[in-house]
């Protein structure tokens, strides 16, 4: 790995850790700001899912829709998140490459969620497509391929 790539890898890793910190710290508006204006958040129902139109998605949201989700997270009567669960987003196995002027970061994600006495765990592979923005990055696409995808779910009430 040359120095340039190593520096990029380091910066992207720090960005992903920062994103996880925002989610666990419930700074959802801060998280939403990480998305570019044309950014998309996508949790497909199968690993080989190619598009959002012909197959259902667990979540498939442009920034406007994601904004709705974020607003609702702050609503006092959103019962499925009352009380809001404690969460830990753990990001690892990060690889980074540059492609057509965009940065593609692959990582593994484990989310531990504890709500009242009930623990839930989500796991999957994440692909972030990023654009350089100022001295950081903006999210063009965050795709979360859950190992649970296609299976039987309990409700997912938190952003992954």
């Amino acid at each position: 790995m040359n120095l340039q790539l190593l520096t990029l890898h380091h910066a992207v890793s720090a960005f992903l850790a920062y994103e996880a910190e925002l989610l666990d710290g419930r700074d959802f508006h801060g998280w939403l700001d990480l998305f570019e204006e044309d950014g998309v958040y996508w949790v497909p129902t199968s690993r080989d899912q190619a598009d959002m139109k012909n197959q259902v998605s667990i979540m498939a949201e442009d920034k406007a829709l994601l904004g709705l989700r974020v607003e609702r997270l702050g609503h006092p009567h959103a019962y499925s998140i009352e009380p809001y669960p404690a969460t830990v987003h753990l990001v690892g196995n990060i690889t980074v490459r540059e492609e057509n002027g965009q940065i593609v970061a692959r990582s593994k994600l484990i989310v531990e969620e504890l709500r009242e006495d009930r623990p839930t765990r989500w796991g999957g592979s994440v692909t972030h497509t990023l654009r350089r923005r100022g001295d950081g990055f903006g999210i063009v696409l965050k795709r979360v391929d859950l190992i649970q995808a296609g299976g039987t779910f309990t409700p997912i009430s938190i952003p992954l």
Binding site: V40, V43, T45, S46, M52, K53, N54, Q55, V56, S57, I58, M59, A60, E61, D62, A64, L65, G67, L68, R69, E71, R72, H75, P76, H77, A78, Y79, S80, G151, T152, F153, T154, P155, I156, S157
Partner: protein, 443 residues
């Protein structure tokens, strides 16, 4: 059945009183077992859509209550519903959810069953006594004695006799007709994936909630007010043409509006909501280009008047008791699968309509995501409430749920349904309760 599980000294008529169901109907495993016996092994249960098993050998795995079954297309084109348990030692035969087979071979000792369920082959058969014959029908997979399709919707009954399917469905055939008739090409197919969501509550809670017109103002307040406050609209070219926001906002009728909705409940346990368009609570979709192309295709098939009637059908949440919900407008169905007394799996599917523009299918896909995804901003709050009801009932404090809202106004409504209420009412819940009582009491 040899052991009648009915004799537990449960007075069903007392558990299921019109004014409300006894709490033990949601918490007592003995009652759950009796439900499996008397309802799920007797009544017509929805087992799938014909488009899931097009060719001979195609199968898909589903459930009839706690019994896992395979819906299998036969060589002659007919349909069978087979138990998914090997007759040697009970091993589950098919682990995959669907596929195509020439026979079903058990993974344990390789007993092989034909598409018709008959035992075809047993390795080392010479080591069995002479009384063991492969052709013995009792060695075949259990096969549902009655399987029938109504316009592609397949139902099975594990009882050799009982009401005919169309009698059982009653006016609910209209909802199925309407969904199929929406396809200019005359055919619909399940497509676009599906959702399976588990909730920690009794199976009855889902249908009891679906046509409860009081809860949306409260349970869905968080999604209603979020949608109403939002000033930004999603980019319609991308993934959503307002369906998500629209569905979120649509629960925001005032209590007065909800009161204007007609509730229809049938003796068979079915129900639906009507009168949304009539009362002006929903405006018929403003026609964009996709809708225009689609309407024109439908008119070419059915003529202008019939096409308008089909698109204008004023019925939502067509609940086919005990487990199906047909939402024709959204090209969508939901299916309830009881797992245990306090655990239920819900499935959601959408349809592609033959002859309709691709975008119509994309919208159906989107509606399914907005309404049945485990991350749905609407449905997740319903599921949460089911869990809380279950928890509350399991505490044992409440002996009986209260379903008296509107009980004095349950009015007989002529031939198209048994009862109709034009005021906010728990009539749909009472219809389900009465059907439940009837099936549970019948010997």
């Amino acid at each position: 059945m040899n052991d009648q599980p009915g004799n537990f000294n449960i007075d069903i008529a007392d558990v299921a009183r019109d004014e409300g169901m006894g709490a033990r109907a949601y918490t007592d495993p003995v009652i759950f077992d009796l439900e499996m016996e008397r309802i799920f092994r007797r009544a017509w249960i929805f087992v799938g859509h014909e488009s899931q098993v097009r060719k001979p050998g195609d199968f898909c795995r589903t459930r009839m209550g706690v019994d896992e079954v395979l819906l299998v297309r036969q060589q002659d084109g007919s349909l069978r519903v087979l138990s998914n348990a090997c007759t040697h030692r009970g091993t589950r035969l098919c682990a995959g959810s669907s596929g195509s087979a020439i026979s079903f071979v058990c993974p344990y000792h390789a007993w092989a069953f034909g598409l018709d369920g008959k035992l075809k082959f047993v390795p080392d058969v010479q080591s069995y006594p002479a009384s063991f014959t492969i052709s013995d029908p009792s060695l075949g997979l259990k096969s549902a004695p009655r399987v029938e399709s109504y316009r592609g919707f397949v139902f099975a009954s594990l009882a050799p006799d009982g009401p005919a399917l169309t009698d059982f469905l009653g006016p609910m055939t209209d909802a199925i007709d309407n969904l199929v008739d929406r396809a200019p090409g005359g055919e619909i197919e399940i497509a676009g994936g599906s959702f399976r969501v588990r909730y920690p509550g009794n199976w009855k809670l889902h249908h009891e909630n679906a046509n409860d017109t009081v809860h949306p103002s409260f349970v869905h307040e968080s999604s209603v007010s979020t949608a109403n406050k939002s000033k930004v609209d999603p980019d319609p070219r991308l993934i959503d043409r307002g369906q998500t926001k629209g569905m979120m906002a649509s629960n925001g009728l005032t209590p007065k509006d909800w009161n204007a909705i007609e509730l229809n409940g049938m003796a068979q346990g079915h129900s639906f909501m009507g009168g949304f368009y009539k009362a002006g609570l929903l405006s018929r979709q403003t026609e964009d280009e996709v809708m225009r192309t689609y309407r024109e295709a439908l008119e070419a098939t059915h003529g202008v008047q019939k096409a308008a009637d089909i698109l204008g059908m004023d019925r939502f949440n067509n609940l086919v008791w005990p487990t199906l919900n047909v939402n024709a407008q959204f090209h969508q169905i939901r299916v309830v699968h009881p797992v245990s007394v306090n655990e239920t799996i819900l499935e959601g599917y959408c349809f592609r309509l033959a002859g309709a523009p691709d975008e119509i299918f994309h919208r159906a896909v989107r509606f399914l995501g907005a309404l049945v995804s485990p991350a749905s901003m609407i449905f997740s709050d319903d599921l949460e409430i089911f869990g809380r009801v279950q928890r509350g009932l399991e505490s044992g404090v409440l002996p009986r749920l209260d379903s008296r809202r509107g009980i004095e106004k349950d009015a007989p409504a002529g031939e198209d349904c048994s009862y109709r209420s034009t005021t906010s009412s728990e009539l749909p819940i009472r219809s389900q309760l009465r059907a439940w009582r009837e099936w549970m009491i019948a010997q």
